[in-house]
């Protein structure tokens, strides 16, 4: 049993000190900006909640918010099942395990801007491989003109980039399940499908919790990759929330940009909290295989 002990704070001092400087001060600055009309070189003007009211009347923001929700939803629906499948299919030992770990981990370790560049040169009309392949099937692929192609490109790029995270987490989660569990299921005559739902998936809950949370928050904050690949176009088709907020900030509209980013932040926070609660509680009292 954990003991109640306020000595714990002593261990937390270093981490909290760093986080206080890094997290608390910038956060307070942004809150401060969100209530004022700030422009470099001019005295600031107190606006109260006006910046916040404007956020909801800004079509660029609400449009990007809608696209952002669709994007994150599509991403999770594809990446989570695919990641689990890949983890189940990866070899468990030997040289095969090493090579597949490195291959699968590689996309995660590429600077995000370079990820964008890789996909840009892969799909570009004048130097990419993808348009040539689609030509064979008589489809005129063009991510710079067709909104659907641009969307598909950004989604496929993100699947390429981030499914490995779910796969790696699940792979290690799978390796941590004692063989006895599977033997017990076999003795009970459970089908593969049943074994997966009753034995495997519940044991993956903790890794999937962090995987889904990370994927949700990072896909909701996506910025640099679509910016490099499609530039948010054609039109506004692939312009996501960060893109809108950055545009506002670059134009020195710090007040509106700050209000937007706080609204943005709280949306991520609330949804993550719901995910966190649901994922840590769902099925936690119905583990059918008892510990020996």
């Amino acid at each position: 049993m954990k003991q109640v002990n306020q000595r714990a704070w002593f261990f937390l001092i270093p981490a909290l000190a760093v986080m206080a400087v890094n997290a608390f001060i910038p956060f307070m600055t942004v809150i401060n900006y969100s209530f004022i009309d700030k422009f470099p070189g001019l005295p600031s003007l107190w606006l109260g909640l006006e910046n916040y009211r404007n956020v909801w009347q800004d079509d660029l923001f609400t449009g990007a918010l809608a696209r952002q929700f669709i994007f994150s939803f599509v991403i999770l629906v594809i990446q989570v099942p695919l990641g689990i499948l890949v983890a189940l299919g990866m070899p468990k030992k030997g040289i095969g395990a090493t090579t597949s770990l490195i291959t699968i981990g590689l996309p995660l370790l590429i600077p995000w801007q370079v990820v964008g560049i890789i996909w840009r040169v892969f799909v570009r009309d004048d130097l990419g491989l993808v348009p040539v392949i689609f030509d064979q099937f008589n489809y005129n692929y063009d991510a710079s003109l067709k909104p659907f192609d641009a969307w598909a490109t950004v989604v496929v790029m993100d699947v390429w980039h981030w499914t490995p995270l779910i796969a790696l987490l699940c792979y290690s989660g799978l390796n941590a399940i004692p063989d006895a569990y599977f033997q017990a299921a076999r003795i009970d005559g459970a089908s593969r499908w049943k074994t997966f739902w009753v034995v495997t998936l519940p044991r993956l809950r903790s890794v999937l919790t962090i995987g889904i949370l990370l994927r949700f928050m990072d896909s909701f904050r996506i910025y640099i990759e679509p910016f490099v690949v499609t530039g948010g176009g054609p039109g506004n088709a692939t312009s996501f929330l960060s893109d809108v907020v950055v545009t506002e900030a670059i134009a020195f509209n710090f007040g509106p940009a700050a209000a937007m980013s706080l609204v943005y932040f709280y949306i991520i926070l609330i949804i993550s909290y719901v995910f966190f609660q649901v994922l840590t509680n769902v099925g936690s009292d119905s583990t059918p295989v008892q510990e020996a």
């Binding site: 997290a23 001060i25 395990a97 370790l109 995000w112 130097l127 900030a249």
Partner: protein, 269 residues
Amino acid sequence: MRRFITFLGMTLYYIFLALPLLWMLSMSFKTTDEILSIRSFIPQTFTLQNYQAIFTDDFWRSAFVNSLVYVFINTIITLIVSLPAAYAFSRYKFRGDHHLFFWLLTNRMAPGAIFVLPFVQLYGREGLGLFDTHWAVALAHTLFSIPLAVWILEGFMSGIPKAIDETAYVDGYSFPGFFFKIFMPLIAPGIGVAAFFSFMFSWVEVIMASSLTRTDARPLAVALTASLGAEGWDWGLIAAVGVLTLIPGAVLIYFVRNNLAKGFALGRV
């Protein structure tokens, strides 16, 4: 039959992963003229000039070193402050522990693109005076890496029975002696995984790194943007830089592969 489907599915997945990377690799061995005129996987006139241009240019070499230096500092700081914090969360109950744990994670949710502005002020001359140093980027990146490292390490530590702590005290170990000699070796895989993630998220981050540096600590990704001259994109060179950015990651993952495989299954059985 089932094995065949698994094999087929995995092969298709590996091809999907490898294809964009191989295309970039092939581009890096071509001249820019060839890239723009002929599209084939095998370079017609194989050339190393792109790599040669990078290795002989101080601009690129220093950018590589800069990136590696701040990523390294970030990983060290993260581990030093996260280990005790994770120990506190895994061993003690205290007022507000659950809220604090979740609050740590909320710092990963702040849209980076925006919080850049106050960060530049904070690290600038009127603030900490660290602008355009490796320390600025390393410290800024702890905003993302500490929460994740604490979360991962807490999972591993919770998997170590509390009885181990007590036995060590009975055997006469002081707390630091216990922590460094007994506890840390037990959670070594967890430290490996936490280091992996700190390295990874610092190595790939671009926005903060580019806003907090100008020339002295300029990271690789920013050098890439700065290299775009008036004559347009030198695709061969860009592809070669892209290929080189893969190497540190590949080396790292080779070293931590066993830890990754054995489990950052948090809160394991």
